[in-house]
Symmetry: C2
Subunit: 334 residues, 2 copies
């Protein structure tokens, strides 16, 4: 398939509902997936829960599918993209913060030494996040993210971050929606960061995004109501927090869950432990050539415990190198 055709196809898949594909449908809605066990497990699951009158049929209202974002829908190397946003914000707002020149972790970041800045661990990361994500209204924050996401480039590929989404996962999102599923993102990343581009890039509206959050406060300033973002953690949507976030936002147990790291294990377990037919999938990053290869020893997106548990829980393991014909969508012509 020519690149221009592939681009057209990916566009069609991303923005429109795909017709229910009976046996005779000529086109393959999952065309970036190699034939094999991973793809078959997806197709068989969807057929089972959508066959009316079948023993495993699930009504559309209960077809809830949840997707992790970092490392599952888009890349997460060499660092979570939201951290790149935070660092860029530190640089952009440094003139307003002369004190940062002497204060860690900001001083190291401003010298360009990310490693030294993050040596302070969670506390350092938290300081950077609060300094760059709080103190504005929700609307101001949305504009800041919008500006960044539409211009910032990935250091290795030189592409926009939103062009480093996985083509097979875009197809999967569209395929599930075409079969009556409601697709949600359930991410350890910031809920308000994700919401800025989730609808345009993944077809997932703001009300179907679950993520980590900081506190907000309602205020009336100069007769105008505003929601102000406060430098205080509200909720961490990771690990055992993911089922909690799912219950809070969705209020029913998903029947399908997609992840790639130990941070997704509890979400996948919660999904698989429900009654009736269930599906859970882990993307295993095995492709150093087209993307990255990492698992048990990675600081970003570590996949260790969940890999050990995969067989016992019946998770489908996607071998990126073998199972995906294409990783990223064809670059747009500029």
């Amino acid at each position: 398939m020519k690149a221009t055709h592939r681009l057209l196809l990916s566009f069609v898949l991303a923005v429109s509902a795909w017709p229910r594909d009976g046996a005779g449908t000529p086109q393959d809605a999952l065309s970036s997936w190699s034939e094999g066990a991973s793809k078959s497990s997806i197709v068989e699951f969807v057929a089972a829960v959508t066959t009316e009158g079948g023993p495993e049929f699930v009504p559309a209202s209960e077809r809830i599918a949840v997707f992790d974002n970092d490392g599952c829908l888009w890349s997460e190397q060499p660092m979570y993209f939201q951290l790149a946003f935070a660092i860029d914000r530190v640089k952009a707002t440094a003139p307003e913060h002369p004190e940062w020149r002497e204060k860690e972790p900001f001083a190291s970041l401003l010298r360009g030494d990310v490693g030294a800045a993050l040596a302070g661990g969670e506390r350092a990361i938290l300081e950077v996040v609060m300094a760059t994500h709080a103190g504005t209204t929700t609307e101001e924050f949305e504009r800041t993210v919008q500006d960044w996401i539409s211009t910032a480039k990935h250091p290795r590929t030189g592409r926009l971050y939103t062009e480093m989404v996985y083509q097979p996962m875009l197809e999967l999102l569209a395929y599930l929606r075409a079969h009556g599923f409601k697709t949600f993102i359930v991410s350890g990343g910031g809920i308000e960061f994700l919401r800025v581009f989730a609808e345009g890039v993944y077809g997932v509206p703001p009300e179907q995004v679950v993520g980590s959050s900081i506190e907000t406060r309602f205020e009336i300033k100069n007769d105008r109501p505003a929601l102000v973002r406060l430098p205080e953690i509200d909720f961490i949507d990771d690990k055992a927090g993911k089922p909690v976030g799912i219950q809070s936002h969705i209020g029913r147990r998903p029947i399908a869950a997609f992840g790639n790291s130990d941070g997704d294990l509890e979400m996948l377990q919660w999904t698989m432990a429900g009654a009736g037919r269930r599906f859970a999938l882990l993307v295993h990053h095995t492709d150093a050539e087209r993307e990255w290869a990492y698992d048990r020893d990675s600081n970003v997106g570590r996949l260790d415990r969940a890999l050990d548990e995969a067989e016992a829980w019946g998770f489908t393991l996607v071998d990126m190198k073998r199972d995906w014909k294409v990783v990223f969508p064809a670059p747009p012509r500029r």
Copy 2:
């Protein structure tokens, strides 16, 4: 209209999408609303935001409408229905708690003296709520509410609580959905309590319910993942909490909001302060004969500050007695 016809109509309205009613549509989707300023303001708003090419057109994805529950979608007198649930649960579980016979507020409740029990104010109510809403898994709690809501009767009307929903508001929910709106409940009541019946009664799925919540924790007990409800407040979705809950769960500002008390004021202000055409409505309980009449001095659903602010903010005020031809749906034949 005969009672059987009215029953059929209310059923159709509650469960199915209403066709877009152009000028020539013979049936009125808001037939329980009297002709007048309230009804006109709704119809004109919906026409303005759904007329493609019109100056106030809003794309369907942004047509978010939020509804308070107590006193807006169903009655709330002589006490919030969820409090009746809590009191019934105290009575039902009293044999497991011999200590309650000596301990307030439980001792008074068990003697049938609700007034004395609630004289302890917020602290007393909190104790009753935690004793009856925490300590179980989410699934056990759901079954408990389901059992109660399908059998408990209102002390004055003898009807099921779910039969004390407002027919004009059911019509309004269906009317908005038929015009591409996504309808959410945003209630000071408990999110998990509401979710049990919101889909069946209002056509609002669990993922579109926002409410107050207690903390939950993910646990694996005997190899089975569970979410356990803890006796700790997570979030109070009332007053200034409502815009916060809306942002957290929906992630965009509603264009229409419906309430009835001071607890809804900030939600209505937040809605009206957005750009473009907006709509906000307060149900004023003026009908002592068919429902109840109360406002500034009521302990339940007090409407005081919001009534003062209504004109300045442009809220539509519904006079229940004058504006609603019917209050409750016709009783089902048993």
